[in-house]
Subunit: 311 residues, 2 copies
């Protein structure tokens, strides 16, 4: 008999990716679905079903199905309350719909939680007991593993590191907090900050040359403005994480998302800031590491969560 496998689905605002996952390894990928191009939620669910059937035909022992979605997801009740950047998903009982239509043990989860679960079970934080996982991109998301379990919070809303404040009188975040971290270190904010710095310099750059990827290239070539920006961004991320460390005393912090591609340019100031702003008992054994599963973290995490929940 084949080892038990699951289908993991990463439901993003732009694309939906799926794959067969066995023991944390992607065996076979499904076709990519265009999230915005297929139609309403009913049409999308039908497209998902088709992809699921296609994947099942290629493996003999698929027993579960997990989906990570960006938004307010009630994993206990199986309801998608609403999705960020995808209209038409209001209180959709997605888990039970898929259970009925596929006969698989289905599971839905917030995408950041699914990624944290993947990185914890098979990625950068394997064997961790208390793990904080953040993703740095357009926004800043997060998921928590505490006492060796996915921690969801009382209303399944925990882990929002991007909404934590670094300045009680700072910039308003999208959800009401002043000084919300993601209003400083989101992609757009980094780009705008760089643009403003270069505008005051001898070599102004247009916005397209101020993206995080361009800033990494420039910094690696020794550009002092780009180097300075990564120091600032890393210090701000580190300041927020220092508060997380004082509160949760984790053994690992996993950092993923596009910004993490800046590598040591951003990891160095993050590590330094956390070490400076906490004490050795909290920081010395703390691993601050890049995510390992890359774009597959959501697929792998969703699949494994579905398998573990079905067991």
């Amino acid at each position: 008999m084949d080892t038990q496998a699951a289908i993991g689905i990463d439901f993003g605002g732009t694309t939906i990716k799926s794959a067969i996952v066995e023991k944390g390894v992607v065996l076979q990928r499904g076709a990519i679905i265009d999230t915005q191009g297929v139609g309403d939620s009913t049409a999308l669910i039908t497209a998902l079903e088709r992809e699921i059937a296609h994947l099942r035909a290629q493996h003999g022992n698929i027993v579960a199905l997990g989906i990570g979605l960006p938004g307010l997801v009630d994993s206990a009740g199986g309801i998608v309350h609403r999705l960020s950047n995808v209209p038409g998903w209001t209180d959709v009982p997605l888990r039970d719909l898929l259970r009925r239509r596929t006969g698989l043990a289905a599971m839905i989860e917030n995408d950041a939680n699914a990624m944290a679960y993947g990185e914890w079970k098979y990625g950068a934080a394997r064997d961790g007991t208390n793990v904080v996982c953040i993703t740095l991109g357009t926004g800043v998301g997060g998921g928590l593993i505490l006492n060796g379990e996915l921690y969801r919070g009382s209303n399944l809303g925990a882990g929002e590191v991007g909404q934590m404040s670094i300045d009680l009188r700072g910039r308003p975040g999208n959800y009401g907090n002043l000084g919300a971290l993601e209003k400083y270190v989101g992609n757009v904010q980094i780009t705008e900050r760089a643009h403003a710095f270069y505008a005051r310099s001898a070599e102004p750059r247009d916005l397209g040359r101020c993206t995080p990827a361009e800033l990494s290239t420039a910094a690696r070539a020794g550009d002092p403005i780009a180097l300075g920006i990564w120091q600032e961004v890393g210090t701000e991320i580190g300041a927020a994480l220092a508060s997380v460390v004082w509160l949760l005393n984790p053994d690992a912090i996993v950092i993923g998302g596009g910004i993490a591609n800046a590598g040591e340019l951003v990891f160095e100031p993050i590590r330094r800031t956390i070490a400076e702003r906490t004490i050795s008992v909290l920081s010395e054994e703390l691993n601050i590491v890049p995510a390992q599963l890359g774009n597959d973290a959501g697929i792998i995490g969703s699949a494994e969560l579905a398998l573990d929940t079905a067991r």
Copy 2:
């Protein structure tokens, strides 16, 4: 047969209080020991033993002994690494010493964790699943109950809400963090802030009339400076707690310690700030409540933790 009872001990920087506790109720108190007046750790442990023997003579079924201590306490290994404000306690294997000398199932714990445990089992947060407990006094301490268990963190250092930052460029805290909450809302800081405000007013006050207790009295009499200070203090505490809520999505926040005696003067701005800076799914079902066990939280929590650990 009597119900099983435990001795709970609240080891403070000034006094050590003990009592017999049964089902969360203090049955009988021991004599208060002067923490600084007895001598070194050996002398203090002997004094504790005497008090324990005295209490045991008064109840037929004492099976456990719990001590909450202010400092770095390894509850798993039973070692007191060091105590805040009490010299001479370096790596004392207190739990095993007491086990050997008393024959009781002994347990040691950080005092803020013990208080959180007490408030969760028998106080303001009974039946909570995810509870954040903070104490506002000279410093700001905290303890966490997550997924229905005391959460200690990877190095037993979790829960330090007072060291979380409200301003990444703010005042340096005692342990390295910039903008550490307790450097704004500790007793001394509140007093100094009030003193500075009154100094610029038509009615300056000396420091002795700027204590939190005096400010409560003045605010209740309508004094606008005192009212304004409580608003500021509550906003700062609320700002830190809003970040905690984004990260942990708890169902209850319990607030104790001397500052909490200001009652609605400080609870109103705390509640308002958290509601303004989070979203309804996180704040609407969140109970923000005063501690109920008062000065007995540490005694009750230590005793119950010892009983539950022994079971």
